[in-house]
Amino acid sequence: MWKTRITALVLLLVGFSVAFFVYKTEPNLKDSRLSTSWVSKVLPFNEKPFKLGLDLSGGSHLVYKADTSALSGQNIKDSMDSLRDIIERRVNLFGVSEPVVQIEQGGIGAGGEQKLIVDLPGITDVEKAVAMIGQTPLLEFRIKDTGPQNATVLADGSVSLNVDENFIPTELTGRFLDRATLEFDQTTMQPKVSLKFNKEGTDLFAKMTGENVGKIIAIYLDGAPISTPVVNEAITTGEAVISGNFKAEEAKLLVGRLNSGALPVPITLISTQTIGPSLGEKAVDDGVKAALIGFLIVALFLILWYRLPGLIAVISLMIYAGIMLSLFKLVPVVLTAAGLAGFIISIGIAVDANVLIFERVKEELKNGRTISDAVSAGFSRAWFSIRDSNISSFITAVILFWFGTSLIKGFALTLGMGVLVSMLSAITLTQIFLKSINFFKDNKFTRFLFSSGLSK
């Protein structure tokens, strides 16, 4: 008996700390008193806000179709992977927080169409978003216009250049680049960027360097010179090194940009979705309101109809909600309006098991059992009904998750998690709590507490 009570107490405490975790890690709700108290010093709470989907946080969702008709088999996969990497790098360069770039392979009936999906949270200006993705950094190799050179070679071998000098573009651009890699000079440990041209680029580069021995070739990125090496001899290997005064970070960025110079496959924008932040904010507010009111109504119903067990079910339900919310944060689950709906519905479903149990308990009481016998029998007898009624919902959730656009996935995930977690919480938590308060004598009053509905 005491063992059950201690377990119940421990579970209550766990439930409380779960709720505290949810509350404490929410940046907007953070109470200044709490965050300065000893608790935050003892427990390392990193801020862990809910992850909101684009429809709630505002942002852009772009779908591109990749034209892979010229490719086949493994090549398609490879170029899609590199396409994703390129777009990802481009997006990252603009400092979007947590962008999602993913490939979606055309499934059933889509004729193997390859799609690239780009989610940009916080970017609500479609124009900007589209430009960001579409922008190809332009890498050019320019040669000096004929005339006197004003560049001076410094003592350490690097070159300083008068930018106003008139460099003229050549045929050689980033289009002919095979890849760029970040390297470190063996002796000076200076970061440098090495370039490898493709076959055509190699020829062009050889010709260009051959004609400009002793002169400067300027490497321009988006119309600005980034490096101005002097050609020592004709280079026929198709390899070049840009060794400016890079910081490692800069060099890395440059490599990223150079590699994203050209897309491996042409892409076209086929779908755009942009949600303004104010609409998203309202949706969050409404969703939270609906969840709270829904919870309160269900709690009221449980307490009025099922009395003492109902009250206990409400406590289990609160712990259930706490567990779900912290799972949303920890997994993390991207919450969309549909996901919120799934969670709200799961509050209703979570009570299912308890209702099944309490109705059984009531029957057992009618059959003349004592309260504690009735509770035990009610739990064991209701189990099969609970299992059956949850299996079908769970199957549906799994299939919906597979069906999934991000919208549906959010719903399926919260609903499916809800079904699983609620089975656990409704059965174990309620049972332990009910057993632990089972010290009542069997009399009229306690029987009243355990009855339900309109009966006395």
Binding site: I270, S271, V284, A290, A338, V355, S389, A397, L407, I408
Partner: protein, 301 residues
């Protein structure tokens, strides 16, 4: 049990509702949303002066983007529905909505879905519906795998499926009314609502049927109708209560929740309601009815 006594009336009500739903579905049809059809939806809100609808319509028409449907939304906005827009077309529409810089409109929500994307999603939705239906039929077969007398187990399964169809057809019928009068459109959430209703309402029916078989095993009464009636008396309260809690949260979602999930909540509420109705007032009476037919025909032999 009055439900068994007046079973023909209750079955009649269900048949009537299903027929009405089907009539509504075939006369009004369902409007397919841009999720499945492709197209663009633009929500624009004006700060300061708000242009009247006629001039917005004219301005958008002038932009030459094909057919455009423009409806007011909220106090200071419009929803514009057009074909799917390419990037230059989008720019054209946005500037048309400002009516030559006379008004300052802010586009708060824009989606343009290419027809191929919509088509693929529609295919996926159909596959999902088929998969969920198959999974549920298998689940029903599994739940009723033990042969029981006097009604053979496949009949339980068949009746469960019939009542599932009932639970889905009526909300779809209601949606066709909404579609016709309120402009509700079939979108992904609509499909999700239907599938979730399938999952939730089948369990209700199974719970009632479980009870019936338990009472048959316990040899409660030699009369099948009485056994079913007794089972209903024992289980209708929990059937109603388990659905009621879900309906309560759904109503809360409908009245207070985000606007994007309003029709979804309504559809699911209807589905839950008729799902519960069918498990009590349709499935069990049908079971008794088939048993009576069975006995009659065996007597004739």
């Amino acid at each position: 049990m009055f439900i068994i006594k007046y079973k023909k009336i209750f079955i009649g009500i269900s048949i009537g509702l299903v027929i009405l739903s089907l009539i509504s579905l075939f006369t009004f049809g369902l409007k397919i949303g841009i999720d499945f059809k492709g197209g663009a939806l633009t929500e624009v809100y004006y700060s300061g002066e708000i242009p009247d609808q006629i001039s917005v319509v004219a301005s958008v028409k002038e932009a030459g983007l094909g057919e455009a449907l423009i409806q007011p939304t909220g106090e200071n906005g419009f929803i514009v529905k057009t074909k799917d827009l390419s990037e230059p077309e989008r720019v054209l529409l946005f500037s048309a909505l400002n009516l030559g810089d006379k008004y300052t409109g802010e586009v708060k929500n824009f989606s343009s879905i290419g027809p191929s994307v919509g088509k693929e999603l529609a295919k996926k939705a159909i596959v999902a519906i088929i998969l969920v239906s198959l999974a549920i039929i298998l689940f029903i077969a599994f739940a009723f795998r033990h042969v029981s007398k006097p009604v053979s187990s496949w009949r339980y399964g068949l009746i469960a499926i019939v009542s599932l169809l009932h639970d889905v057809i009526i909300p779809v019928g209601i949606f066709s009314l909404l579609s016709h009068f309120k402009g509700a459109e079939v979108d992904t959430l609509f499909v999700v609502a239907i599938l979730t209703v399938l999952g939730l309402s089948v369990s209700d029916t199974i719970v009632v049927f479980d009870r019936i078989r338990e009472n048959i095993r316990n040899r409660f009464s030699a009369n099948f109708g009485e056994t079913v009636g007794r089972s209903l008396t024992q289980s209708y309260q929990r059937s109603i209560n388990t659905s009621l809690t879900v309906i309560l949260v759904l109503l809360s979602l409908y009245f207070f929740g985000p606007s994007s999930t309003k029709y979804f909540a309504l559809m699911m509420t209807a589905g839950m309601f008729f799902g519960t109705y069918s498990s009590i007032f349709l499935a069990s009476p049908l079971l008794v009815l088939t048993e009576e037919w069975q006995t009659k025909s065996s007597r004739k032999r």
